[in-house]
């Protein structure tokens, strides 16, 4: 079932003081170094987050106990200029193969050590289909209330 509303994509532009190659490398290979550790989806604490460097590659996390949890897939791999990932994490921050939103990141060189990063998270209407599942987990600690609480605490 599809809810016929389409929220605008989340778009961000930032400028980083680094070469295009480094900006791409840190976003991809260095992902685990900057990703908020609070946003692990596994039962175990986040040890590493891996983006396989090819189209069709997995994007997943590995916990301290060795367990793996998928986040999505690599849809476009064009180093050092462009990256598209499928983001298949539900509102409960769990992998859902039926949920399909996309994250696209473009790295545009603006100088020797200056890169503009254009970020877009789109297809958010896919979340509308999840309402049924949400009803069941809405009050669980891992559901929205837990995530929002953790987020509010971290952002404060």
């Amino acid at each position: 079932m599809s809810l016929k509303i389409a929220p605008a994509p989340v778009r961000k532009t930032l400028q980083v003081k680094a070469s295009q190659a480094r900006a791409f490398e840190v976003f991809t290979a260095g992902f685990a170094r900057w990703w908020p550790a609070t946003h692990s989806i596994g039962k175990s604490a986040l040890k590493d987050a891996i983006m396989e460097p090819q189209v069709g590659g997995r994007w997943y996390e590995r916990g301290e106990d060795g367990s793996e949890c998928d986040w999505g897939r690599v849809l476009a791999w064009e180093p050092p200029a462009r990256l598209v990932l499928s983001w298949q994490l539900s509102a409960q921050w769990k992998f859902d193969p039926d949920l399909l939103t996309e994250v696209e990141v473009r790295f545009i060189p603006e100088g020797d050590r200056l890169t503009r990063v254009e970020f877009e998270h789109r297809g958010l209407e896919s979340y509308g289909d999840q309402a049924e599942a949400v009803r069941k987990s809405i009050n669980s600690p891992g559901g929205w209330p837990g995530i929002l609480e953790a987020y509010a605490a971290a952002a404060a």
């Binding site: 480094r22 900006a23 976003f27 170094r33 900057w34 309402a131 009803r135």
Partner: protein
């Protein structure tokens, strides 16, 4: 941020989702909605109130009728949450990129 919870709860009820989808197809009055559904008109009104409180639908007067249409900003709270989340994640990314200046 409880808006995000409100919106998801509002859509979790099958009757409300049906009402919401009918409104999404085209604007409708309470009477029109009630005629096509196996629930009473007061029940439809109650569901509409929940959808409206969650920011999913908006209403306007047309003569003596109240007509409901979808609020285009309907998934707004969820989007707003992701928007803030990415702000934080990308700020962390930027700090990491710039932490070791290139030689």
């Amino acid at each position: 941020m409880t808006d995000a919870i409100k919106i998801l709860e509002a859509l979790a009820d099958p009757t409300r989702r049906e009402i919401f989808e009918r409104i999404a197809a085209r604007p409708r009055s309470v009477g029109e909605l009630a005629r096509g559904l196996p629930v009473s008109r007061p029940a439809v009104s109650q569901h509409l109130r929940v959808l409206k409180t969650a920011g999913l639908v908006a209403d306007y007067a047309e003569g003596t009728r109240r007509v409901y249409q979808i609020d285009p900003a309907g998934l707004g709270p969820l989007r707003a949450w992701l928007d803030r989340f990415w702000d934080r994640a990308l700020a962390a990314y930027q700090a990491e990129v710039e932490s070791n200046p290139e030689q």
